[in-house]
Every structure is written in C-alpha cells, then in structure tokens.
Assembly symmetry: C2
Homo-oligomer: 318 residues x 2
Amino acid sequence: MRILITGAAGFLGSHLCDHLLNDGHEIIGMDNFITGSPDNIAHLADNEKFSFYKRDVSNYIFVPGNVDAILHFASPASPNPQSKSGYFNLPIQTMKAGALGTHNCLGVARSHNSKFLLASTSEIYGDPEVHPQAETYPGNVDPVGTRAVYDEAKRFAESLTMAYHRFHNVNTSIVRIFNTYGPRMDLEDGRALPNLLKQALLGQPLTVYGDGSQTRSFCFVDDLVDGIIKLLYSKEHFPVNIGNPVEMTILQFAEAINRITENKAGITFVDARSARDPQRRRPDITRAKTILDWEPRVDLEEGIRRTIPFFKQKLGLA
Amino acid sequence: MRILITGAAGFLGSHLCDHLLNDGHEIIGMDNFITGSPDNIAHLADNEKFSFYKRDVSNYIFVPGNVDAILHFASPASPNPQSKSGYFNLPIQTMKAGALGTHNCLGVARSHNSKFLLASTSEIYGDPEVHPQAETYPGNVDPVGTRAVYDEAKRFAESLTMAYHRFHNVNTSIVRIFNTYGPRMDLEDGRALPNLLKQALLGQPLTVYGDGSQTRSFCFVDDLVDGIIKLLYSKEHFPVNIGNPVEMTILQFAEAINRITENKAGITFVDARSARDPQRRRPDITRAKTILDWEPRVDLEEGIRRTIPFFKQKLGLA
C-alpha cells in the first residue's frame, strides 16, 4: 500500500513509519515540526520507500499520486502547561489539527477512495466517572475547560470521521490511544512516566504528587503500533481503545522505576499539582481483543528497559 | 455598532437583525440559504442600515469596513431526520459551520478587535443525566452517535471560542440556547411544538409519542433575543444558558395547544419514535438571572397566540 502518515515525525507517527515500511509499504510522511522532530525520521532519509513533505495538515494537503490509506496522527498531544509544544501553549493549532486537519485528510481519503484511520485519544473520556472506560462511555469533558482544546478537537475529529463514513461511505477507523511510552517520546511531555524515568536515570529522588494513589496504565509503543496496524487492516468503523489495561498507582510505578533503574535516591512526596489531572484512566480493551485479536505483550519492566537507552541518549548519559 | 450576523436569514438570526436594527445598530447579514430563507429578511430589503451578503461562512468571510461585533448563528439546527435542511442530512455542512465557520468568524473578530458571540445550544448537554442543566454540567454526548454532528460541532465551537478568548484576548460570549419557538421558525424542524401546533391549526388530532411523559421547556423567541442582546453587551465569557425553565410534559403541552387553538380533534398516542430523543431538557437560568438580570416574560399561552398568525400563513389558512 501507499500510505500517508500525518504527524510522521512525532513519537507515534515515526514508529508507524518504521513498522509499515518494515511490512513492505510505501510511506509518505508529513509533519510541520511544531511538535514532531526531524530526529525521529532521520534514519529514514535513505529509504527509497519513504518520502517526506514538510506541511501543516490544517492548511492544505496535496499528495502526488494515489493514496491507499491515510493515518492522521498530527496534533500537539502533551498536557504539560510548561511545554512550548504542549497543547496548552498551542490551543488553536491543536483545534485546527483536529478539525481542519481531519477535514483535509478526509477530503483526500474521499477523493482517492483510501482508508482513513484517525488517531483519537483516551482524553475524549475527560475525567472519567466509570472505570475502566469502554468505548460506549460518553466521557466527562467540560467543553470550556482549559484542557478542552485537545479533548474537544479529538471528539470533533471522531464525529467528522463518522460523518464521512456514514454520509460519503469513506472506509474509516478510529483508535482511542491511551498512555503510551517508549523510545522517541517527548521527555518534557509532562506525564508521569518520562518525569519519573528521567529523575531515576539522573539519580534523583522521584517526585510523586499527593499520596501517589492516583493510577495510570502504560502501554509500550510497539504494542500500540501493533494494535493500530491491526485496526488499519480491519473493517471496524466504531472507535477501538488501544492501551494497556494493567493499572498501577503512581507510587507503585515510581517504586518499580527505582528498582529497574537501580536508583537509590528514593521518592519525594509533594502537594498534588492540580485537581484537573484525571485521577484514573484505564482502558477496557474487550473490543480490541474481540475484533482485532489484540492485546499488549510487553510488560512494564521490559518496556522500561527498552526505553532507557533513548532516555540516556537524550539526557547525555549514553 | 456595526454588527455582522451569520445565519441572518435563519429563524433566530432574522429576529436578531430586527431587534438590533430597532436599537439603532447597522447590520451586515450573511447566509448561504442552506437552511435560512430569503423570506425571513425580505422586509429588511429597503432598510438602509441593513446590508446582506450571500456567503457560506465555512468557506471565507470578507467584511468591508469595520465590525464592532459578530454574532455567529449560522448552522443547520433541525433534528428532524426527514427534513432536507436538518443536520442529519447536512452532517458535514453542520460540522463545518461549527468548526470552520467559527474559526473564520473568530479570525475576523480578532483582526477587527470586535466582540464575538457564539450561538451554542442545549444540545451540548446531550441526553442529560441531571435536571435542570447548569452550565457546569459537562453533558452526555456520544461523539460517534448520529446526533453528534451537531452536538460536537457546537462543543468544538465553544472550545475554540474560549481558546481565542484566553490566547488572543478576543472579547467573546457564548449563549447556550434551549428550545425556542415563534414566528419564522421552521414548521418542519421536527420538534414537538411546530408538529403539534400545525396539527392543531389543521384541526387534526395531536400526535403524542409514547405516553407523553417526556418533558420540554419552550422559550418564546422575543425572550430569547432579549437575553442574547443582554449577553452581547455584557463582559461574560463563560457560557450562559438562555431558555425558559417552565417544564411541562408533552401531554400537558398538547392539551394546552388544543385549548389555545380550540382544536376539538383530541390526541392520538403512538409508539415512542426513538430512544435517542432526549427525555428531558430544562435550563438552569441562575447565571442568566444573576449576570444579565434576565428571565423570560412571555408565558406559553401568549407566545403561542403570537406564533399562530405565522403558522396560519405558512399553512395557507390566513
């Protein structure tokens, strides 16, 4: 297949490029580098099956030749208010990537008769009141809250995707991506995993907010990409959660990180940052298991070990 | 003020034109007539303070001269699956009006330093699980449901409006409009009031779905417009519900309609149409009362009496 990937220079987009090239496909990558990095695709520069266009998908897309599939992964995604590339600091670009970007991609998919796969997110569930979250849960998002720029952009993108499927018969799929980690992730994205792993590798005490009882579920990137590619080949049009349902408290997680990295500096507890951070988020992956025969295979210890070399390189410790 | 109104030829847009012209303002109306009608603004043709441009706000807006305020009221809004101008049959135009249209309007507001007022809707609450709905209720909307094209478009529009306010300091307001009726409403919009009033005026038995215990709250258009204009002059940036909190069952309402119109044909009960129709929707108008000193003044009987001449004319009974 000839596959267009928007956000190709991002964390997830670049892994999709790698895996799909490895499967023998031709990849057209697009990215405007607002949050993606040329470093993530530098190793593909000599690959004859990979071409790259620096474009803002929210403005316009021109794709030379035919396109069999489009994976729309372009969007700021970091919830870190301090990060220049987080969606708090790129609110309008984030909303445009979800609305105008999705609209542009769906237009190309319609005219090329291509498959369209939307990268959605567990953030569409907001601060959920049921656990775990199944795809039927409508979510708990305040449309005028500060986080809403990302959440509502993705909710809109899902609705528009379904509208093109229902009204224009475009072959669409929607993946709702839960917390993912691995090489090429943004060390500054503000989430628990990179924060704690960075501290551990630097031999610092790990910062845990509140009492550490809030929970997270972390999926290793190879598992996620495996699920997305299975969805790409499927005929499923309704959203499918892809994530790791193994839930642990942030405190358990910090202890595991210290053990795996042999960090002796312990843990520091500080005041809870913000009531806006979801207290719990865990995928119900029944649909992924049933429809795609998918479930994660990489456990936390193995995933962290495979992530450490990238972190060490970024931290100048390699 | 010089005020741009999108959707100026619609039910609400045209009343806003009338009231704001009456207050001495200059109005620039825009509409693409997908759902609006030239009939609604025909009486303004000779008004020197009114100009009109046939435009699709989702494509592009050019406004000659300065603009002090923009009221974005362009959108399909009828939930009737049988209506050609309902959002079920215009799903993509509906999503574009909410996303691209709002984005275009906010761009003009930013460049002209104008006030921006977004017409949002009680539909952002979806099928609510709390009654009445206050503005803090995050709603119960399935982003991939068939109704979502309208609901998510408006949720997105709210988020984008807040983003322009927070990030670009645009002076914005958001009105969440509940069920409204009055002259120039779409007789085919599929909602209970026009359906029942039409049947009553034609001397037919009124059709009530299920046992008629589902409730509605109806606001007369003059009350609604009064609230919107108060909001336009205010400095309130967070959403404000405008609607009539007097709740009645559909059965009570049908009986009132038969009484007011002196229809002797009674009521016919038929099977409930669809579980997707919200069972209850009622505004909590505490914020409108507190912030805008607004509450509805026209009771149902008076509102219906003021609406009947328009219905009779449309039905060829005048």
